[in-house]
């Protein structure tokens, strides 16, 4: 019962401060010009001409693109235009809803104890005074009811905007410096937000040219236009073609490989070293340390690393050496446990698998490094393998490993860290070699097939680049380059 009463209070408040709000709305755009010293004779600039607008294509809706011709006094003529102000017409209903939205945000601030920023004497302040009288429980109720109310009212917006130009007001949207000819009005899709622009509702815009003195003249009103979301992003068509190209290429080569085609793969130093390194560890009776890096299970570098870990773990199980896998990310830990466990199973030694072979350390970059450093100096692994995503810690790890006298094999796709691994490790897989390694180690024809597809894609890039460089010398070459520009 109480809640119903409160809605009434809020609505009353809304109505009473309506005039105030409207003043606010129209003045918002001029806040930095209204302080200008009074100038005796105000000369109006010529208005911007030919205002046009469309729904912003290939988006989720709620956005429109406006464009206009510069005012004759912008950069020419009197040269007096300082900026353009963009205004949007909204129905009375929208203004009402905005007031409720404002009160919602005040309630939110009260609930979060962040009302200190509200200046005295403003509309928000008077709302604050009203709402602060209620308990938290009541405020939660009020809040939920108001949200439901806003949601309900929003459905009427499209219809209300048909009443143009009656029953509404111009709202300031944004300002742009002189020389600007277009503006993308990206509204919010959240109906609770003040910047909400409803889809499929009539929108009206106008653009004012404003001089230094604050004198302004308005363009003709644009409208009605409507915004909406699209179901297909045409800008991304080049990506569709490349997805198809790449997928078909991969599937073709995988099939070829399955049929038994002989596929050559060039040797990778780092990968050939892995087997030797495991043998060495066995001879020395020391463990092998495998570091998966700081990536999450979602990073493809980590996924590639899992495949390599599987091979290493299998070899380790066969040779009966000890394996240490400290991890940084808990999900990576879970996956790595699966991988190592099934590798031991494959090697026929499930009994040798210990649950703490793969263990979690901490999810803090340098704490993880400190712990791994400790392992290196105390367990003295014969071989350290670093595969995956690495950041600043790469050099700390690799140098400590070198200090402990371990053979070190690394691979990462973080370009900034490759130099450090190259300098400090015995073998380094550079960038793409890491991904190739996972296919190479498997020696499975299907995986090798996809390497072949990658190589064809590279050949395509080189070919296109050569054609492009030749065409770039001519005027019409630009069209070719544009084929590879994905706008959004």
């Amino acid at each position: 019962m109480k809640v119903k009463l409160l809605i009434m209070v809020v609505m009353m408040l809304a109505l009473s401060s309506f005039c105030f709000a409207q003043d606010n709305a129209t003045e918002a755009g001029t806040e930095d010009t209204d302080t200008t010293a009074v100038v005796e004779s105000i000369i109006l600039p010529a208005p911007p001409g030919n205002l046009t607008g469309i729904d912003k294509p290939n988006d989720h809706g709620h956005a429109a693109i406006l464009s206009w011709d510069l005012s004759p006094d912008d950069g020419a003529g009197e040269n007096s235009v300082l900026k353009y102000e963009i205004y949007k017409w909204v129905p009375q209903l929208m203004l009402d809803i905005n007031l409720v939205r404002d009160s919602l945000s005040v309630i939110q601030r009260i609930l979060r104890n962040t009302t200190s920023g509200i200046t005295e004497g403003t509309q928000a302040d008077s709302m604050k005074i009203v709402f602060e009288k209620y308990s938290r429980d009541e405020l939660f109720d009020i809040r939920n009811t108001l949200i439901a109310h806003v949601k309900q009212e929003n459905t009427g917006l499209a219809e209300a905007s048909n009443s143009y130009p009656e029953n509404g007001a111009w709202l300031f949207v944004d300002k742009k410096p002189s020389g600007t000819k277009s503006f993308v009005h990206i509204g919010s899709k959240d109906f609770k937000s003040a910047g909400f622009v409803p889809d499929f509702a009539n929108l009206y815009y106008r653009v004012d040219a404003v001089t230094i003195d604050g004198a302004k003249s308005s363009s003709k009103v644009l409208g009605p236009i409507q915004t909406s979301g699209q179901w297909y992003n045409t800008y991304r068509t080049p990506v569709v073609f490349s997805v198809l190209f790449f997928t078909l290429l991969t599937i073709y080569f995988v099939r070829e490989a399955r049929k038994g085609a002989d596929l050559y793969v060039r040797p990778l130093g780092g990968i050939e070293a892995v087997d030797d390194a495991i043998g060495r560890a066995t001879e020395m009776g020391r463990p092998i340390l495998y570091v998966l890096g700081l990536g999450s299970a979602a990073d493809i570098a980590t996924i590639a690393s899992f495949t390599i870990l599987g091979r290493v773990a299998k070899k380790v199980a066969e040779y009966q050496t000890e394996l240490l896998v400290p991890t940084y990310d808990p999900i990576v830990m879970t996956v790595a446990q699966e991988v190592v466990k099934s590798a031991y199973l494959d090697a026929g030694r499930p009994d040798a698998y210990k649950e703490d072979t793969v263990h979690f350390v901490t999810q803090s970059q340098f704490a993880y490094v400190a712990a791994v450093n400790g392992i290196m100096l105390r367990e003295l692994p014969a071989t350290n393998v670093y595969m995956g995503k690495f950041f600043a810690e790469s050099l700390i790890l690799a140098e400590t490993g070198a200090l402990a006298g371990s053979i070190q094999i690394s691979g990462t796709d973080e370009i900034a860290q490759i130099p450090f691994f190259i300098v400090a490790c015995d073998y380094t897989l550079i960038g793409e070699e890491l991904y190739a390694a996972s296919a190479y180690l498997g020696k499975e024809p299907v995986l090798l097939g996809s390497l072949k597809a990658q190589d064809y894609a590279k050949a395509a890039i080189i070919l296109l680049a050569v054609i492009g460089v030749v065409l770039a010398q001519f005027e019409f070459g630009a069209a070719f380059v544009n084929l590879f520009e994905v706008a959004n």
């Binding site: 989720h60 979301g229 297909y232 999450s296 493809i300 996956v335 105390r378 498997g442 299907v446 590279k458």
Partner: protein, 270 residues
């Protein structure tokens, strides 16, 4: 079924994300945001698994008196005191019962660890019962503490922020600064002109390192600065681009293999 269903899930979600990329419409965005939220939420559940793993490994070390087992107590104390401080806060200025509460919780955890590692279980269990009673007593009778954090009073749990500022930050910064030493030792150890590749690496590094060295004759300094600028802007750009293209294709190919179920190494053998 047990083995195949996960790969079906991978395919479904993967294919959905590929299609989603072309659909700008709100409903597609809506699902996309949901999915990303889910990944984060599952991550936190996984973190609990991680903490559990850290705990069991540490306790295991203590139980079997492995090398350096005593330090595992340091890890566990650090872990628990941060958890307790992160989930509770003191009300008002007085430390009084709040500190007793924290200490009794800590002793409770300490005794519980002892119970699990020691042979004399009865004694330690009794002691942990005692501290549990103390902690519960304070929890229910005294209102000098609360469980909240996102509100402004919780953020002012001074000990939690102090631990972050005076334990985490200095160690982190110092670990990071070790890089200065390691960059020197790596350069000393590895920059030997063994073959042509090592020589190129060496020369480029030295030119760039000398870019602001004033003690050189014949206008060499200016030449060094210009050359190192050129090295960073031209060959660097080319090499980076070549690597990026390679990495990009590697990622694309691996993702595709994952979605199509060709690459299954990440879940153990498929």
């Amino acid at each position: 079924m047990k083995r195949q269903l996960p790969f079906l899930l991978v395919f479904l979600f993967g294919a959905f994300m590929v299609f989603q990329y072309y659909v700008p419409h709100e409903s597609s965005e809506f699902v996309y945001e949901f999915l990303l939220d889910w990944v984060m939420i599952i991550g936190i559940f996984a973190l609990a698994l991680g903490i559990w793993s850290l705990y069991t490994v540490s306790v295991d070390k203590i139980r079997h008196k492995k090398e350096n087992w005593a330090y595992s107590y340091v890890t566990l104390i650090g872990l628990f005191i941060m958890v307790v401080l992160g989930f509770t806060y003191k009300v008002g200025d007085s430390w009084g019962f709040y500190s007793v509460f924290v200490i009794s919780l800590m002793t409770l955890l300490g005794f519980l660890i002892q119970t699990s590692v020691s042979k004399d279980k009865g004694l330690w269990l009794g002691l942990s019962g005692l501290s549990l009673v103390v902690a519960l007593g304070i929890a229910f009778t005294d209102d000098s503490w609360g469980i909240a954090f996102m509100t402004s009073e919780g953020l002012s749990n001074t000990m939690f922020t102090n631990f972050a500022d005076f334990v985490l930050t200095p160690i982190l910064a110092t670990m990071f600064s070790l890089l200065a030493f390691f960059i020197a030792s790596a350069a000393y150890r590895a920059f030997r002109a063994r073959n042509i590749l090592a020589t190129l690496l060496l020369i480029a590094a030295i030119i760039v390192m000398l870019r602001f060295n004033p003690y050189m004759p014949f206008g060499l300094p200016e030449y060094m600065a210009k050359t190192s600028n050129w090295l960073m802007n031209v060959p660097n750009l080319a090499a980076q681009r070549a690597i990026v293209i390679g990495i990009g294709l590697g990622i694309v190919a691996t993702s595709l293999k994952v979605i199509l179920g060709i690459e299954r190494g990440y879940m153990g053998k498929g």
